[in-house]
């Protein structure tokens, strides 16, 4: 329960940061995707039914605040969670370097899902050109953020668990 509250709070803070302060970075239209990194973390280190639903809700929240089409980011984040969860079952992923690679791959999966869904449902002009232009940059940014975000999440999680143990 406490961990659910922790991840919910981190999710809300990530969305707020993504909508405001991260826009101050001189990266053009590219916004660092903290939500994606959070979904990857949930898939790697906290796989549960709650985490699967959490990834969906995080994606849905981005849809609510940013996307003209409800469900597009919810689909992408659910897909990312599923892909990470399945890969974590067969690969040893508990090292910072591997987590960087996983986040890079997850970002590419997310972008591929967004491009395909956009092409299917909204037929946006220039979707492929933009995909080529920004997908790699977005993925590299997310991968670069991964070690520090993972470390912060792990520390927050440990702290909550220690507090719970002390309370008991």
């Amino acid at each position: 329960m406490k961990l659910t509250l922790l991840f919910s709070a981190i999710g809300i803070i990530s969305i707020v940061l993504q909508m405001s302060l991260l826009h101050l970075l001189p990266l053009g239209p590219v916004v660092p995707d903290l939500i994606l990194v959070l979904c990857v973390y949930l898939g790697l280190h906290h796989p549960s039914v709650g985490a699967a639903l959490g990834s969906f809700v995080l994606g849905y929240s981005i849809d609510v605040v940013s996307s003209p089409l409800l469900g597009i980011n919810a689909f992408a984040m659910s897909l990312v969670f599923l892909a990470v969860y399945l890969s974590a079952r067969s690969i040893w992923v508990h090292s910072p370097l591997v987590s960087v690679v996983i986040v890079l791959a997850a970002s590419l999966v997310k972008s591929a899902a967004l491009v395909l869904i956009s092409a299917l449902f909204v037929s946006m002009d220039g979707v492929w050109e933009t995909a080529i232009k920004y997908v790699l940059l977005e993925a590299l940014l997310a991968a670069a953020l991964a070690p520090i975000v993972f470390m912060l999440l792990q520390r927050s999680r440990n702290l909550v668990q220690q507090l719970s143990n002390a309370h008991e």
Partner: protein, 279 residues
Amino acid sequence: MLAFLRRNQILLSSCFCLILSLYLLAASARGQLKYDPVGSAVLWLVRPLQSGAQAVSNWIKEMSQSPVTLANLRSENDKLRKQMLHLEAERNRLLEGEAANKRLQELLDFRSQVPSGSVTAAIIANTASTWFQSCLLNKGSADNVRKGMAVVSPQGIVGQVVSVTPQSAKVLLITDANSGVDVLVQRTRSRGIVSGALDGTVVMKYVKRSDELQEGDRLITSGLDGVFPKGLLVGTIGKVRRQQAGLFQSIEVVPAVHAGQLEEVLIVGGDAPAPAAKG
């Protein structure tokens, strides 16, 4: 059966989420999602935090634009430094107040020119995605803001309200690839559709090759899309490229408004003509 469900519960819940997302996508694409209680709850939760974060963001932006930097101040002695910081803060506060006053006065003047029932709103958030160009306003259905209303500023049009909650409204900017605004070239009266592209540029589509357009030509709303009042400035033509073949020419547009630099906007219904906006 129960053991199978228990063993694969994460996998099955992920698949359920994927199917639910696809259902939402299909319903949303067909415009069947009329009421979204989850979205309203998310916005209710995010809105107060977002207002605070946006204020911090604006403050950082202002500070980074300030002509006096800390590097210059290091060479000053302590007394002068304190005095300068105090005076600078006072000056910034006054300048900000003056700028806000000017902006709001312009908005007020502009408001008297657009159809009645317009609502003044502040931008409280930018897009959270690289893929979509939108922003969030601090007024919603409780202030009579409705889906489909036009969002404008004294400099020109900003976008269209695509969803509302009681306390906020989501605006699809004209720079988004999903947007489309029916426009007229003010000089030649040629018609076309202005739309965004995913790379952040804005283009004018469906302009006949025979139409003689020039760089710098002003584009105004035609009023025919039923969203934007006629005569509002959309932008100017940046570049005209006549292709070897095809019915239409390729035109790049410089939008009149950069939403990232806006703080207040006006939300209007698209049912009456309005005079041309300030260029």
